[in-house]
Symmetry: C2
Amino acid sequence: MTRDDALALDAADPLAGLRAAFALPDGVTYLDGNSLGPPPVAVHEAMAEVTRRQWGEGLVRSWNTADWIGAPLRVGDKIARLIGAEPGEVTVADSTTVNLFKLAAEALSLRPGRTTILSEAGNFPTDLYAIQGLAALLGGRARLKTVAPDDLLAAIDEDTAAVILTQVHYKTSRRWDMAAVTAAAHAKGALMLWDLCHSVGAIAVDLNAAQADLAVGCSYKYLNGGPGAPAFLFVAKRHQAAVTSPLTGWMGHADPFAFEDGYRPAADIRGQITGTPPILGLAALETGVDLQLRAEPALVEAKGLALAALFIAEVEARAADPDLKLTGPREAAQRGLHVSFAHPQGYALAQAMMARGVVGDFRAPDIARFGFSPLFLSYAEVWNAAHALADILADRGWDRPEFQTRAAVT
Amino acid sequence: MTRDDALALDAADPLAGLRAAFALPDGVTYLDGNSLGPPPVAVHEAMAEVTRRQWGEGLVRSWNTADWIGAPLRVGDKIARLIGAEPGEVTVADSTTVNLFKLAAEALSLRPGRTTILSEAGNFPTDLYAIQGLAALLGGRARLKTVAPDDLLAAIDEDTAAVILTQVHYKTSRRWDMAAVTAAAHAKGALMLWDLCHSVGAIAVDLNAAQADLAVGCSYKYLNGGPGAPAFLFVAKRHQAAVTSPLTGWMGHADPFAFEDGYRPAADIRGQITGTPPILGLAALETGVDLQLRAEPALVEAKGLALAALFIAEVEARAADPDLKLTGPREAAQRGLHVSFAHPQGYALAQAMMARGVVGDFRAPDIARFGFSPLFLSYAEVWNAAHALADILADRGWDRPEFQTRAAVT
């Protein structure tokens, strides 16, 4: 592909108009929206509205007058439209980790007698840690079992309460077939809990079409919700009356402002909320979600996969370095929107790209990772970035001492 | 007291200069800082810094360059100075509810064989709910026992793993003697977990002088951290190596960016963190904490108690309504900084005050509650507010239909 070919793709891109809705610094090609999405332009005005007008002028009254109290479900309903869920099936709450803990405990309660939570070895660590913590708390009543991805479907058995998988793997970008895996779990009587951290806002997700039971996700990646933005969770309507969150807080009570001594869970998705909603984080997130809703998920996925394919093809066509290895699948239908190249100098590679204005990241032990957010990236800048990486590989541009110094967060 | 007496107190108030550091709307006397503190003036600049410069220009790199990754412990160390804790004993994390769940579970693990978490009936509901949820999850291995406040000390026994109390009661304002209750718990081998929601930034707290074991608190009341600001928790140094949070997330791992499959807890306070830190909320909170650190806690407490005493005295001296009853103790040493009057028309009273520009709040079933944040209130405006309440009571000013309509959040 020539640069002119890439420019032609940009000219025909139905999402190209969304680029102007993001505030990105000059001279930066941002291939790390899969780690932290950039701010929508509108977020600055939104934050001023919430801090100056709602908080500053409305003060405590804004819980009612600005509907702060309704924010978790209001933003949840918007996220629902991006993941094939119905209104009332999603709420914003807590962190991905905390939500995993809640939903895993609820899955166990829905499948009494079963003790196994099944996941894949190498899943994003917090998913495994959340279940390990739950299992430790429950003693012998639950355990986490991890198997290699290829062995996963066969490992689902009559003791499996739930299968927990990240739909798109944070390192390899490999994508699980949501409908097929959910059906396999159901065939053994197990529930299916999807982690959508690398899916939401990136690929077209349809939880209800897949008959998924439970899901969690973070909102600071492709949803551009801001650093440490609050997470979300999904509980299918058919399960809501039967589950009670183990993290029972006043905001999940059927009548929070009755101030009763005994917990009575809200029978709907509100029962999954624990503490007071984080309004500043919700306000920023809502801006990101509103922007995402302007794009058709199928178009978002198609563009992101095309950008990733362009990057892979251009790098591999030009990079003669035999140490560079694409991890995970090459086929678009089997992957998400980030591309991971393993290389012995993976960390330094990412640093050398950074020095050229291309921001990607690194995942231990050896992966240089690049994400292709469809809402703000152009084909031409991805073409440029691929050529930058190819050039660095060709002339060992990573081989400088300053590219070896590791930062606290990698 | 005359209004001139109040003005004289303001003229001599060593904290009077802090009023200018808050952005409060004209015409409002804000007696609800105990529910949601108002924004510090500096928060607007701080939010612009974090959203425009750190997030917008630094993008993902700000986890290192703006030390986002260090924010939970950095702000925690600042809060530690307000509550008699050492550096490394406090972190910002999650919500008060979630932190209560964690620390209650840890208390049980520190006292194997003991099954009771003891609290008072009528404690703030989320404190009770968090323990009820934990007990339900643990089956017979734990239970919440609540007793009337007067029976609490006698109810601590050899099965008590921990006593959980809110130091200042959200309704009555009654204050527990932190050192005495902690000693009573220790005398029976139980741990002491303090909820500081209505203490921090209000009264002088010294956790280590009292030999407290564990504590939690919220930061959107007297710390002025913003709506739904992240909460904090305290684990005394002597316990840190022996406890593991049940909510095991990647940010509590000894080496989060090694991305290991197995959880290895950080041996220090970091082990209490679960998910990715909420940076927008932390940035606002840090502004509030920085402002709080400009005031000596003993002076803050003394002024707040004086304001509360002034309000009680002026209302009671003028209000002839026999239905008006001060709930909780009258003596300064036994109370916190809010004043609760029970009245059959408590809700309408609060609304009638609101109509006169005095913002307080209501707590079911019949309490009109007024908080006296020492950093931004003057004696003169509290004097005015007391007279407004007395006037409303004298002429049944609450008796208007529009004051009866309840909002979602009361």
